[in-house]
Protein backbone atom coordinates (compact mmCIF):
# COMPACT_ATOMS: atom_id res chain seq x y z
CA UNK A 1 0.00 0.00 0.00
CA UNK A 2 1.38 3.42 -0.97
CA UNK A 3 2.57 5.55 1.93
CA UNK A 4 0.87 8.77 2.94
CA UNK A 5 3.03 11.88 2.54
CA UNK A 6 2.83 15.57 1.72
CA UNK A 7 4.13 14.82 -1.76
CA UNK A 8 1.37 12.25 -2.26
CA UNK A 9 -1.31 14.76 -1.23
CA UNK A 10 0.12 17.10 -3.88
CA UNK A 11 0.34 14.52 -6.67
CA UNK A 12 -3.10 13.08 -5.88
CA UNK A 13 -4.46 16.62 -5.99
CA UNK A 14 -3.07 17.00 -9.52
CA UNK A 15 -4.65 13.67 -10.56
CA UNK A 16 -8.12 14.50 -9.26
CA UNK A 17 -7.66 12.44 -6.08
CA UNK A 18 -8.42 9.30 -8.06
CA UNK A 19 -5.63 7.16 -6.56
CA UNK A 20 -6.69 6.94 -2.90
CA UNK A 21 -7.52 3.49 -1.57
CA UNK A 22 -9.43 2.55 1.62
CA UNK A 23 -7.11 2.81 4.64
CA UNK A 24 -7.76 -0.83 5.57
CA UNK A 25 -9.34 -3.96 4.04
CA UNK A 26 -12.81 -5.20 5.02
CA UNK A 27 -11.66 -8.65 6.15
CA UNK A 28 -13.89 -11.72 6.54
CA UNK A 29 -13.11 -14.07 9.42
CA UNK A 30 -10.92 -17.12 8.78
CA UNK A 31 -11.45 -20.29 10.89
CA UNK A 32 -8.38 -19.75 13.07
CA UNK A 33 -5.70 -17.25 14.06
CA UNK A 34 -2.69 -17.12 16.40
CA UNK A 35 -4.30 -14.27 18.35
CA UNK A 36 -7.76 -12.70 18.34
CA UNK A 37 -8.21 -9.23 19.79
CA UNK A 38 -11.78 -8.39 20.78
CA UNK A 39 -12.63 -4.71 20.33
CA UNK A 40 -11.86 -2.49 17.34
CA UNK A 41 -11.23 0.70 19.27
CA UNK A 42 -7.89 2.38 19.87
CA UNK A 43 -6.70 -0.11 22.50
CA UNK A 44 -7.60 -3.23 20.50
CA UNK A 45 -6.17 -1.94 17.22
CA UNK A 46 -3.02 -0.75 19.02
CA UNK A 47 -2.66 -4.24 20.52
CA UNK A 48 -2.85 -5.78 17.04
CA UNK A 49 -0.42 -3.21 15.62
CA UNK A 50 2.23 -3.84 18.31
CA UNK A 51 1.74 -7.62 18.11
CA UNK A 52 2.63 -7.34 14.42
CA UNK A 53 5.26 -4.61 14.52
CA UNK A 54 7.13 -5.43 17.76
CA UNK A 55 6.58 -9.16 18.20
CA UNK A 56 6.23 -10.29 14.58
CA UNK A 57 2.85 -11.95 15.22
CA UNK A 58 0.83 -11.10 12.12
CA UNK A 59 -1.73 -13.92 12.03
CA UNK A 60 -4.06 -11.76 14.10
CA UNK A 61 -7.75 -10.83 13.88
CA UNK A 62 -9.43 -7.84 15.49
CA UNK A 63 -13.17 -8.49 15.89
CA UNK A 64 -15.46 -5.51 16.41
CA UNK A 65 -19.19 -5.55 17.17
CA UNK A 66 -19.90 -2.35 15.21
CA UNK A 67 -17.53 -0.12 13.28
CA UNK A 68 -13.91 0.71 14.07
CA UNK A 69 -13.47 3.54 16.57
CA UNK A 70 -17.14 4.18 17.39
CA UNK A 71 -17.04 3.20 21.06
CA UNK A 72 -15.11 5.18 23.64
CA UNK A 73 -12.35 5.99 21.14
CA UNK A 74 -14.83 8.28 19.41
CA UNK A 75 -16.46 9.51 22.62
CA UNK A 76 -13.71 11.11 24.69
CA UNK A 77 -12.21 14.58 25.16
CA UNK A 78 -8.93 13.65 23.36
CA UNK A 79 -6.57 14.66 26.20
CA UNK A 80 -3.08 13.12 26.35
CA UNK A 81 -0.90 13.48 29.49
CA UNK A 82 1.23 11.51 31.96
CA UNK A 83 0.84 13.53 35.18
CA UNK A 84 0.29 10.70 37.65
CA UNK A 85 1.47 10.39 41.26
CA UNK A 86 2.39 6.74 41.76
CA UNK A 87 5.51 5.32 40.05
CA UNK A 88 3.57 2.29 38.72
CA UNK A 89 1.22 4.65 36.92
CA UNK A 90 3.53 7.48 35.91
CA UNK A 91 6.10 5.13 34.33
CA UNK A 92 3.34 3.45 32.35
CA UNK A 93 1.68 6.68 31.19
CA UNK A 94 5.06 8.25 30.39
CA UNK A 95 5.84 5.28 28.16
CA UNK A 96 2.47 5.88 26.46
CA UNK A 97 3.28 9.59 26.03
CA UNK A 98 6.64 8.75 24.44
CA UNK A 99 4.84 6.44 22.01
CA UNK A 100 2.41 9.30 21.24
CA UNK A 101 5.38 11.54 20.43
CA UNK A 102 6.51 9.21 17.63
CA UNK A 103 3.11 7.78 16.72
CA UNK A 104 2.55 9.56 13.41
CA UNK A 105 5.91 8.32 12.09
CA UNK A 106 5.39 4.73 13.25
CA UNK A 107 1.83 4.57 11.88
CA UNK A 108 2.42 6.73 8.76
CA UNK A 109 -0.84 8.45 9.69
CA UNK A 110 -1.57 11.99 10.86
CA UNK A 111 -3.16 11.73 14.32
CA UNK A 112 -2.83 15.51 14.83
CA UNK A 113 -0.89 15.09 18.07
CA UNK A 114 -0.58 18.55 19.60
CA UNK A 115 1.59 18.98 22.71
CA UNK A 116 -0.06 22.19 23.79
CA UNK A 117 0.30 21.73 27.55
CA UNK A 118 -2.09 20.55 30.28
CA UNK A 119 -2.69 22.77 33.33
CA UNK A 120 -4.41 21.49 36.50
CA UNK A 121 -5.52 24.53 38.48
CA UNK A 122 -5.37 24.70 42.28
CA UNK A 123 -7.28 27.03 44.56
CA UNK A 124 -6.00 26.60 48.12
CA UNK A 125 -2.91 25.62 50.12
CA UNK A 126 -3.85 21.94 50.38
CA UNK A 127 -4.40 21.62 46.63
CA UNK A 128 -1.13 23.45 45.96
CA UNK A 129 0.72 21.02 48.23
CA UNK A 130 -0.89 18.04 46.48
CA UNK A 131 0.09 19.51 43.09
CA UNK A 132 3.67 20.04 44.32
CA UNK A 133 3.84 16.46 45.57
CA UNK A 134 2.52 15.09 42.27
CA UNK A 135 4.87 17.34 40.26
CA UNK A 136 7.85 16.23 42.35
CA UNK A 137 6.89 12.58 41.96
CA UNK A 138 6.76 13.08 38.19
CA UNK A 139 10.12 14.90 38.06
CA UNK A 140 11.79 12.24 40.21
CA UNK A 141 10.67 9.74 37.58
CA UNK A 142 12.00 11.83 34.70
CA UNK A 143 8.69 13.38 33.57
CA UNK A 144 8.28 17.10 32.92
CA UNK A 145 6.20 19.11 35.41
CA UNK A 146 6.16 22.80 36.28
CA UNK A 147 4.39 24.62 39.07
CA UNK A 148 2.77 27.81 37.80
CA UNK A 149 1.85 30.68 40.07
CA UNK A 150 -1.16 32.91 39.44
CA UNK A 151 0.70 35.06 36.92
CA UNK A 152 1.96 31.96 35.14
CA UNK A 153 -1.62 30.73 34.70
CA UNK A 154 -2.70 34.18 33.56
CA UNK A 155 0.05 34.32 30.93
CA UNK A 156 -0.79 30.89 29.56
CA UNK A 157 -4.57 30.90 29.76
CA UNK A 158 -5.87 34.45 30.24
CA UNK A 159 -9.50 33.48 29.73
CA UNK A 160 -9.63 31.71 33.15
CA UNK A 161 -11.30 33.79 35.90
CA UNK A 162 -8.46 34.02 38.45
CA UNK A 163 -10.60 36.04 40.89
CA UNK A 164 -13.51 33.63 41.20
CA UNK A 165 -15.31 34.81 44.35
CA UNK A 166 -15.49 31.41 45.95
CA UNK A 167 -12.50 29.59 44.43
CA UNK A 168 -9.79 32.11 43.44
CA UNK A 169 -7.00 30.52 41.39
CA UNK A 170 -3.65 30.21 43.22
CA UNK A 171 -1.76 28.54 40.40
CA UNK A 172 -1.53 25.33 38.42
CA UNK A 173 0.52 22.25 37.74
CA UNK A 174 1.63 22.29 34.10
CA UNK A 175 2.80 19.41 31.94
CA UNK A 176 4.00 21.04 28.71
CA UNK A 177 4.35 17.73 26.85
CA UNK A 178 0.68 16.94 27.47
CA UNK A 179 -1.94 17.98 24.93
CA UNK A 180 -4.53 16.54 22.57
CA UNK A 181 -4.75 14.23 19.57
CA UNK A 182 -7.45 13.64 16.97
CA UNK A 183 -9.29 10.67 18.48
CA UNK A 184 -10.85 9.20 15.31
CA UNK A 185 -7.54 9.44 13.47
CA UNK A 186 -5.90 7.41 16.24
CA UNK A 187 -8.28 4.50 15.58
CA UNK A 188 -7.96 4.88 11.80
CA UNK A 189 -4.17 5.17 12.00
CA UNK A 190 -3.79 2.02 14.09
CA UNK A 191 -6.27 0.19 11.82
CA UNK A 192 -4.33 1.31 8.73
CA UNK A 193 -0.94 0.33 10.13
CA UNK A 194 -2.12 -3.01 11.58
CA UNK A 195 -3.87 -3.92 8.31
CA UNK A 196 -0.72 -3.07 6.34
CA UNK A 197 1.12 -5.68 8.45
CA UNK A 198 -1.42 -8.40 7.71
CA UNK A 199 -3.91 -8.08 10.58
CA UNK A 200 -7.54 -8.89 9.68
CA UNK A 201 -9.92 -6.20 10.95
CA UNK A 202 -13.39 -7.77 11.07
CA UNK A 203 -16.21 -5.31 11.66
CA UNK A 204 -19.85 -6.19 12.49
CA UNK A 205 -18.68 -9.33 14.28
CA UNK A 206 -20.10 -9.58 17.81
CA UNK A 207 -18.77 -12.09 20.31
CA UNK A 208 -21.61 -14.30 21.62
CA UNK A 209 -19.60 -16.86 23.57
CA UNK A 210 -16.16 -18.01 24.60
CA UNK A 211 -14.85 -21.50 23.95
CA UNK A 212 -13.02 -22.53 27.13
CA UNK A 213 -11.75 -26.09 27.51
CA UNK A 214 -9.73 -27.35 30.46
CA UNK A 215 -9.34 -23.86 31.84
CA UNK A 216 -7.81 -22.52 28.60
CA UNK A 217 -9.32 -20.37 25.86
CA UNK A 218 -9.76 -22.12 22.51
CA UNK A 219 -11.62 -19.47 20.54
CA UNK A 220 -14.76 -17.39 20.22
CA UNK A 221 -18.31 -17.88 19.05
CA UNK A 222 -19.37 -14.82 17.06
CA UNK A 223 -22.25 -13.61 14.93
CA UNK A 224 -20.01 -14.45 11.94
CA UNK A 225 -19.23 -17.99 13.06
CA UNK A 226 -16.75 -19.73 15.27
CA UNK A 227 -13.16 -18.44 15.25
CA UNK A 228 -10.41 -20.47 16.93
CA UNK A 229 -7.25 -19.13 18.56
CA UNK A 230 -5.01 -20.19 21.46
CA UNK A 231 -4.77 -16.59 22.66
CA UNK A 232 -7.49 -13.95 22.98
CA UNK A 233 -7.05 -10.36 24.21
CA UNK A 234 -10.00 -8.26 25.40
CA UNK A 235 -10.04 -4.51 24.75
CA UNK A 236 -13.74 -3.80 25.16
CA UNK A 237 -14.14 -0.84 27.52
CA UNK A 238 -17.51 -0.88 29.25
CA UNK A 239 -18.32 -4.44 28.18
CA UNK A 240 -15.45 -6.25 29.91
CA UNK A 241 -17.75 -7.79 32.56
CA UNK A 242 -20.14 -9.07 29.88
CA UNK A 243 -17.32 -10.93 28.13
CA UNK A 244 -15.60 -12.26 31.26
CA UNK A 245 -18.99 -13.60 32.40
CA UNK A 246 -19.02 -15.66 29.15
CA UNK A 247 -15.62 -17.05 30.17
CA UNK A 248 -16.95 -17.86 33.66
CA UNK A 249 -15.48 -15.27 36.00
CA UNK A 250 -16.32 -11.86 37.49
CA UNK A 251 -13.96 -8.87 37.57
CA UNK A 252 -13.67 -5.81 39.85
CA UNK A 253 -15.48 -3.50 37.41
CA UNK A 254 -18.71 -1.52 37.36
CA UNK A 255 -19.82 0.12 34.10
CA UNK A 256 -20.60 3.83 34.41
CA UNK A 257 -21.50 6.71 32.10
CA UNK A 258 -19.25 9.64 31.30
CA UNK A 259 -20.43 12.52 29.17
CA UNK A 260 -18.50 14.86 26.90
CA UNK A 261 -19.61 18.07 25.23
CA UNK A 262 -18.71 20.33 22.29
CA UNK A 263 -19.65 23.99 21.93
CA UNK A 264 -20.30 25.89 18.71
CA UNK A 265 -17.15 26.78 16.76
CA UNK A 266 -15.09 29.79 17.84
CA UNK A 267 -11.97 31.66 16.84
CA UNK A 268 -8.92 30.58 18.90
CA UNK A 269 -9.71 31.08 22.58
CA UNK A 270 -7.92 28.39 24.63
CA UNK A 271 -4.60 27.09 23.30
CA UNK A 272 -3.88 24.56 26.06
CA UNK A 273 -5.84 22.00 28.08
CA UNK A 274 -7.02 23.43 31.40
CA UNK A 275 -8.79 21.69 34.27
CA UNK A 276 -10.71 23.25 37.16
CA UNK A 277 -9.56 22.32 40.66
CA UNK A 278 -12.75 23.31 42.45
CA UNK A 279 -15.07 21.13 40.42
CA UNK A 280 -14.76 18.39 37.87
CA UNK A 281 -14.26 20.21 34.55
CA UNK A 282 -11.66 20.08 31.77
CA UNK A 283 -11.60 21.92 28.46
CA UNK A 284 -9.58 22.30 25.29
CA UNK A 285 -10.31 23.71 21.84
CA UNK A 286 -10.48 21.46 18.80
CA UNK A 287 -8.90 22.36 15.45
CA UNK A 288 -12.41 23.03 14.12
CA UNK A 289 -12.83 25.66 16.86
CA UNK A 290 -15.36 23.98 19.15
CA UNK A 291 -14.57 23.82 22.84
CA UNK A 292 -14.39 20.17 23.92
CA UNK A 293 -15.17 19.66 27.60
CA UNK A 294 -16.29 17.16 30.18
CA UNK A 295 -16.74 16.49 33.87
CA UNK A 296 -17.41 13.60 36.21
CA UNK A 297 -19.45 10.41 35.99
CA UNK A 298 -23.22 10.38 35.90
CA UNK A 299 -22.99 8.42 39.13
CA UNK A 300 -24.80 5.12 38.60
CA UNK A 301 -24.11 2.03 36.46
CA UNK A 302 -25.28 2.12 32.88
CA UNK A 303 -24.57 0.52 29.52
CA UNK A 304 -26.87 3.06 27.88
CA UNK A 305 -24.27 5.28 26.09
CA UNK A 306 -26.43 8.31 26.78
CA UNK A 307 -26.02 10.83 29.58
CA UNK A 308 -28.55 12.51 31.81
CA UNK A 309 -29.32 16.19 32.25
CA UNK A 310 -28.40 16.79 35.93
CA UNK A 311 -24.79 15.90 35.15
CA UNK A 312 -24.80 18.04 32.01
CA UNK A 313 -26.04 20.98 34.08
CA UNK A 314 -23.33 20.37 36.69
CA UNK A 315 -20.57 20.28 34.04
CA UNK A 316 -21.81 23.51 32.41
CA UNK A 317 -22.00 25.19 35.83
CA UNK A 318 -18.42 24.19 36.68
CA UNK A 319 -17.27 25.46 33.29
CA UNK A 320 -18.94 28.83 33.72
CA UNK A 321 -17.37 29.13 37.21
CA UNK A 322 -13.91 28.61 35.75
CA UNK A 323 -14.41 30.65 32.56
CA UNK A 324 -17.44 32.98 32.88
CA UNK A 325 -17.20 33.80 29.14
CA UNK A 326 -18.47 30.28 28.41
CA UNK A 327 -21.88 31.47 29.59
CA UNK A 328 -22.28 33.23 26.22
CA UNK A 329 -21.72 30.02 24.27
CA UNK A 330 -24.16 27.45 23.01
CA UNK A 331 -23.57 23.74 23.47
CA UNK A 332 -23.56 22.01 20.11
CA UNK A 333 -23.42 18.31 20.92
CA UNK A 334 -23.06 15.99 23.88
CA UNK A 335 -22.64 12.25 24.11
CA UNK A 336 -21.76 9.56 26.63
CA UNK A 337 -19.42 6.61 26.75
CA UNK A 338 -19.51 3.57 29.01
CA UNK A 339 -16.54 3.28 31.35
CA UNK A 340 -15.03 0.28 33.09
CA UNK A 341 -14.77 1.76 36.60
CA UNK A 342 -12.38 -0.04 38.96
CA UNK A 343 -12.22 0.10 42.77
CA UNK A 344 -8.97 2.12 42.75
CA UNK A 345 -9.26 4.12 39.53
CA UNK A 346 -6.34 2.29 37.86
CA UNK A 347 -6.53 -0.13 34.92
CA UNK A 348 -5.87 -3.84 34.32
CA UNK A 349 -3.42 -4.97 31.63
CA UNK A 350 -2.94 -8.57 32.60
CA UNK A 351 -3.51 -12.28 32.35
CA UNK A 352 -6.83 -13.65 33.61
CA UNK A 353 -7.96 -16.81 35.47
CA UNK A 354 -8.52 -18.42 32.02
CA UNK A 355 -5.25 -19.51 30.34
CA UNK A 356 -4.61 -17.71 27.06
CA UNK A 357 -7.16 -14.98 27.84
CA UNK A 358 -5.71 -11.50 28.42
CA UNK A 359 -7.26 -8.10 28.94
CA UNK A 360 -6.63 -4.40 28.78
CA UNK A 361 -9.56 -3.06 30.77
CA UNK A 362 -10.70 -0.92 33.66
CA UNK A 363 -9.58 2.35 32.06
CA UNK A 364 -12.12 4.35 34.06
CA UNK A 365 -12.27 7.69 32.27
CA UNK A 366 -8.60 7.94 31.35
CA UNK A 367 -8.26 5.44 28.56
CA UNK A 368 -7.60 7.66 25.56
CA UNK A 369 -4.21 8.98 26.69
CA UNK A 370 -3.12 5.40 27.37
CA UNK A 371 -4.05 4.06 23.91
CA UNK A 372 -0.55 3.32 22.49
CA UNK A 373 0.87 2.29 25.90
CA UNK A 374 -2.09 0.03 26.60
CA UNK A 375 -1.74 -1.67 23.22
CA UNK A 376 2.04 -1.95 23.60
CA UNK A 377 1.86 -3.57 27.07
CA UNK A 378 -1.15 -5.74 26.16
CA UNK A 379 0.70 -7.02 23.06
CA UNK A 380 3.79 -7.76 25.17
CA UNK A 381 1.70 -9.63 27.75
CA UNK A 382 -0.01 -11.69 25.01
CA UNK A 383 3.20 -12.44 23.09
CA UNK A 384 5.29 -13.41 26.15
CA UNK A 385 2.44 -14.78 28.30
CA UNK A 386 3.87 -12.54 31.04
CA UNK A 387 3.53 -8.82 31.82
CA UNK A 388 6.16 -6.22 30.96
CA UNK A 389 7.56 -4.42 34.02
CA UNK A 390 5.48 -1.36 33.00
CA UNK A 391 2.20 -3.23 33.56
CA UNK A 392 3.34 -5.78 36.17
CA UNK A 393 1.39 -3.92 38.90
CA UNK A 394 -1.82 -3.58 36.86
CA UNK A 395 -3.26 -7.01 37.67
CA UNK A 396 -6.68 -8.26 38.77
CA UNK A 397 -5.06 -9.66 41.93
CA UNK A 398 -3.72 -6.42 43.33
CA UNK A 399 -6.69 -5.99 45.71
CA UNK A 400 -6.19 -9.47 47.12
CA UNK A 401 -2.52 -8.62 47.65
CA UNK A 402 -3.15 -5.17 49.18
CA UNK A 403 -1.46 -3.28 46.32
CA UNK A 404 -4.18 -0.81 45.32
CA UNK A 405 -3.16 1.97 42.91
CA UNK A 406 -5.58 4.53 44.29
CA UNK A 407 -4.36 7.89 42.93
CA UNK A 408 -7.27 9.77 44.50
CA UNK A 409 -7.44 7.85 47.77
CA UNK A 410 -11.18 7.33 47.39
CA UNK A 411 -11.36 3.73 48.53
CA UNK A 412 -13.15 0.85 46.87
CA UNK A 413 -16.15 2.75 45.46
CA UNK A 414 -16.41 2.33 41.70
CA UNK A 415 -18.60 5.40 41.27
CA UNK A 416 -16.33 7.66 43.37
CA UNK A 417 -13.13 7.16 41.34
Amino acid sequence: MARYSGLRVLTEGLRGNSGWKPAWRKAAPRPSYDVIVVGGGGHGLATAFYLASVHGITNVAVVERGLVGQGNTGRNTTIVRSNYLFPENNHFYEHALKLWEGLEQSLNYNVMMSQRGVINLFHNDAQRNAALRRGNSMRLNGIDAELLDRDGVKAMCPIVDLDNGRYPVMGGLLQRRGGTARHDAVAWGFAHAADARGVDIIEHCEVTGMIVEGGAIQGLRTTRGEIRAPKVGLAVAGSTSTLTAMAGFDVPIETHLLQAFVSEGLKPLIDCVVTFGAGHFYVSQSDKGGLVFGGGLDGYPSYGQRGTLPTAEHVYAAGVSMIPALGRLRGLRSWAGVMDMTPDGSPYICKTPVRGLYMTAGWCYGGFKATPGSGWCHAWTIAKDAPHRLNAAHTLDRFREGRMLDERGNGPFFWAQ
Partner: protein, 91 residues
Amino acid sequence: MLRIPCPHCGARDEVEFTYRGDATVARPAPDAGTDAFHDYLYLRRNPRGWQVEWWQHHGGCRAFLKVLRHTVTHEVRGVVTATGALEAPQA
Protein backbone atom coordinates in the same frame (compact mmCIF):
# COMPACT_ATOMS: atom_id res chain seq x y z
CA MET B 1 -33.33 11.15 33.80
CA LEU B 2 -34.66 8.94 36.59
CA ARG B 3 -37.74 9.39 38.72
CA ILE B 4 -37.54 7.16 41.76
CA PRO B 5 -40.76 6.45 43.71
CA CYS B 6 -39.56 6.64 47.31
CA PRO B 7 -41.80 4.56 49.62
CA HIS B 8 -41.69 7.37 52.19
CA CYS B 9 -41.72 10.55 50.09
CA GLY B 10 -43.33 9.65 46.74
CA ALA B 11 -41.83 10.01 43.24
CA ARG B 12 -38.79 12.28 43.24
CA ASP B 13 -36.12 13.41 40.80
CA GLU B 14 -32.80 11.51 40.63
CA VAL B 15 -30.84 14.54 41.92
CA GLU B 16 -32.30 13.81 45.40
CA PHE B 17 -30.73 10.34 45.43
CA THR B 18 -27.22 8.93 45.59
CA TYR B 19 -26.29 5.53 44.15
CA ARG B 20 -24.58 3.35 46.76
CA GLY B 21 -23.78 0.10 44.98
CA ASP B 22 -25.06 -3.36 44.10
CA ALA B 23 -27.58 -4.47 46.78
CA THR B 24 -27.21 -8.18 46.07
CA VAL B 25 -23.72 -8.24 47.57
CA ALA B 26 -23.93 -9.66 51.10
CA ARG B 27 -21.30 -9.23 53.80
CA PRO B 28 -19.72 -12.63 54.59
CA ALA B 29 -19.55 -14.11 58.08
CA PRO B 30 -16.62 -12.70 60.11
CA ASP B 31 -14.71 -16.00 59.86
CA ALA B 32 -15.42 -16.55 56.14
CA GLY B 33 -11.80 -15.88 55.18
CA THR B 34 -9.96 -13.34 53.02
CA ASP B 35 -11.16 -14.71 49.68
CA ALA B 36 -14.80 -14.22 50.68
CA PHE B 37 -14.06 -10.66 51.85
CA HIS B 38 -12.09 -9.92 48.66
CA ASP B 39 -15.06 -10.99 46.55
CA TYR B 40 -17.47 -9.02 48.75
CA LEU B 41 -15.45 -5.80 48.49
CA TYR B 42 -14.24 -5.93 44.91
CA LEU B 43 -15.96 -8.42 42.58
CA ARG B 44 -19.19 -7.36 40.89
CA ARG B 45 -21.66 -9.06 38.55
CA ASN B 46 -22.10 -5.70 36.76
CA PRO B 47 -25.14 -6.97 34.82
CA ARG B 48 -26.20 -5.56 31.49
CA GLY B 49 -29.88 -5.61 32.38
CA TRP B 50 -31.82 -5.64 35.66
CA GLN B 51 -29.93 -4.84 38.85
CA VAL B 52 -31.05 -4.41 42.46
CA GLU B 53 -29.10 -1.49 43.89
CA TRP B 54 -28.79 0.68 46.98
CA TRP B 55 -29.81 4.32 46.66
CA GLN B 56 -29.87 6.83 49.50
CA HIS B 57 -32.59 9.47 49.42
CA HIS B 58 -30.27 12.17 50.73
CA GLY B 59 -32.56 14.99 49.61
CA GLY B 60 -35.65 13.54 51.32
CA CYS B 61 -36.13 10.96 54.04
CA ARG B 62 -32.38 10.12 53.99
CA ALA B 63 -33.22 6.41 54.11
CA PHE B 64 -31.33 3.74 52.20
CA LEU B 65 -33.62 2.12 49.64
CA LYS B 66 -33.42 -0.90 47.37
CA VAL B 67 -34.19 -0.05 43.75
CA LEU B 68 -34.73 -2.44 40.82
CA ARG B 69 -33.37 -0.64 37.76
CA HIS B 70 -32.39 -1.63 34.21
CA THR B 71 -28.81 -0.69 33.33
CA VAL B 72 -29.50 -0.18 29.61
CA THR B 73 -32.96 1.43 29.54
CA HIS B 74 -32.68 3.04 33.03
CA GLU B 75 -36.31 1.92 33.75
CA VAL B 76 -37.05 1.81 37.50
CA ARG B 77 -39.44 -1.06 38.23
CA GLY B 78 -39.51 -1.37 41.98
CA VAL B 79 -38.44 0.41 45.15
CA VAL B 80 -38.59 -0.99 48.68
CA THR B 81 -37.13 -0.04 52.04
CA ALA B 82 -33.74 -1.42 53.02
CA THR B 83 -35.13 -4.53 54.74
CA GLY B 84 -37.67 -5.27 51.97
CA ALA B 85 -37.35 -8.11 49.45
CA LEU B 86 -36.67 -7.22 45.83
CA GLU B 87 -35.33 -9.57 43.18
CA ALA B 88 -34.14 -8.99 39.63
CA PRO B 89 -36.13 -10.85 36.97
CA GLN B 90 -34.22 -13.68 35.28
CA ALA B 91 -32.39 -12.61 32.06
